[in-house]
Amino acid sequence: MAREFLTVYWREMIRFVRFKGQLFASLVQPALWLLLFGVAMASNFDSSAIPLPEYPGAVSVDYLTFMAAGVMAMTALFTGLFGGMGLLFDKNWGIMKEMMASPMEPYHIQIGVGLGGATKALIQVGLVMGFGILLGVEFFAGFSALETLVAVVGILTFVAVFSVGFIFLSAGLAMRVESMESVQAIMTLLTMPIMFSSNALYSTASFPGWLQAISTVNPLTYFVNGVRYFALGGDFAAMGTHYQYSGGEIVTSLIVLVVFALLTFVFAWFSFRAAKMK
């Protein structure tokens, strides 16, 4: 079996550890979100005088714990969206020509970059989660060691599938656009709505219908569902909203993310074909 994608992956990883500044920034940014936005918002909400409804039986979760899943999602989203963009540099100032002129099929580039991005996302989200727990995020409360292990594996599975989907999307875009400027524009255009039309930072229950519709086609929503299910359990309340997830819903969420990754895989596949068959 052809294994050239492992070579592409190997190079991704060399670059990941070599760009110390970028590595540092990619870890510090979500940590800062958690520290500043999370703590600030939490201190506002949790001390608010308005009594929130109680849901008997549901685990009550503070805001910091609630939004930690959102910051993890943001980390995975950024890593995914920027993961494929390195290809634009390779195209303009790097070795894309070498790869495209070699006998290697271009899907190896796509898979290698996808694996690389997923690895980066796993490391970064893992670190952000650890940092959050140090800050007081109450994940895995009352879980046994085995339950915690299962939960961590579940979360990482969601991280991997989710980030791969966005890496394929950004890789496909990188092969089609020419300039860094257009990339910036597309990134800004994508990240904001994806972030804010999801349940990452607040409940979508009181969204108007149209926004709720967007939220239900937003992969980020499904990702956050998965993380919260594994970290907080299937029945919890936060900010006055009662969340209940069944195992079936979580499997559905994972399937949605897998389908998203498959669609973006196909998109990237065609983008690479088009770039090769000039």
Binding site: W10, R11, R18, A101, S102, P103
Partner: protein, 325 residues
């Protein structure tokens, strides 16, 4: 007779309405250094891109190492090495990693890859820089690394697209030495260049290309010989009359106007013919303002066939992108 390693028949390649390559045919013998000489925008890179299967073969046919570029691109790719015109390096990989990466994407087994890396790093004299990132290399070192990379898979043909563009004269000489060395080891070299001296010094066979068409071909010697033994450039008070007079001299095979005066192509030794020419002009009372004699160069060959100098020819898309550090 040596076998033909590259064969091109009636190749046409257009970008929109623009015919970059306009019905060219040629072949390359195994083991030779073959040059495509022409100004920027003449169609050299387009041809190389079709031969290396980076561009589709639109019309006509081309085969490399016995494989048709249209039906067996994968086999073509496996049997060639390429040194691109632009710098194609990952700035953050080291010299060794650059070769390693190449060997791996060409599915070379690990032991062979490592042996070849060592051998090639030695060949291009980058032993001291093995663990240096490519962004810290000089322009010449980068070029040498790219040549080494092109040789990793020990290709039958190495394609070099403007190998010394933007390099200083000393570095160019060194790169030429490497190219010759590689060729002596048995690799066929296909190179494009717009430098006359490069084609002259390196090639066994030259095709001069302009506006997508091959306008002359042969060895450097035979091309220059088409212009005779020597050339005389004259400026006179009456160029029209001077040309007529010169054409009457048996040793003069051709006389024509240039932007500055007239140019005579001689079939005999210029040192002996020059006095005859001057005497004939004097006899007709044509005042001579200046006289210059030289051996024909490839530049003259280009001027002879196109009517203009290669350095005056239009540039492709502005200045070449490569090098300069």
């Amino acid at each position: 007779m040596a076998s033909k390693i590259i064969e091109v028949k009636n190749l046409v390649h257009s970008f929109g309405d623009f015919k970059a390559v306009d019905n060219i045919s040629f072949s390359v013998e195994e083991g030779e250094i073959f040059s495509f000489l022409g100004p920027n925008g003449a169609g050299k890179s387009t041809t190389i891109n079709v031969l290396t299967t980076q561009l589709a073969c639109q019309q006509g046919s081309a085969s490399v190492c016995g494989f048709d570029v249209r039906s067996r691109p994968h086999d073509v790719r496996k049997s060639i090495g390429i040194v691109f015109q632009d710098e194609v390096l990952d700035r953050d990989l080291t010299v060794r990693e650059t070769l390693e990466f190449h060997g791996r994407i060409y599915s070379m087994p690990a032991d062979l890859r490592q042996a070849r890396e060592k051998e090639l790093i030695k060949l291009v004299e980058l032993e001291e820089k093995v663990n240096e990132r490519t962004k810290n290399l000089s322009g010449g070192m980068k070029r040498r690394l790219e040549i080494a990379r092109g040789l990793m898979t020990r290709p039958k043909v190495l394609f070099l697209d403007e190998p010394t563009i933007g390099l200083d004269p000393q570095t160019r000489l060194r790169i030429w030495d490497y190219i010759k060395g590689v060729n002596e080891e048995g690799t066929t070299i296909f190179l494009t260049t717009h430098y006359m001296d490069e084609a002259d010094r390196l090639s066994d066979s030259i095709q001069i290309i302009d506006h997508g068409k091959i306008i002359a071909s042969g060895t450097a010697e035979s091309l220059k010989n088409t212009l005779g033994e020597d050339m005389i450039y004259l400026e006179t008070k009456d160029d029209e009359k001077a040309m007529r007079v010169a054409r009457g001299i048996p040793e003069v095979s051709e006389a024509k106007r240039t932007s500055q005066g007239i140019e005579l192509i001689l079939k005999a030794d210029g040192g002996k013919t020059m006095p005859d020419v001057l005497r004939a002009l004097e006899a007709e009372r044509i005042a001579t303002l200046s006289v210059k004699m030289k051996k024909p160069s490839l530049d003259d060959v280009f001027v002879h066939y196109t009517g203009r100098e290669m350095r005056d020819a239009p540039a492709e898309n502005g200045l070449p992108k490569r090098r300069g550090h």
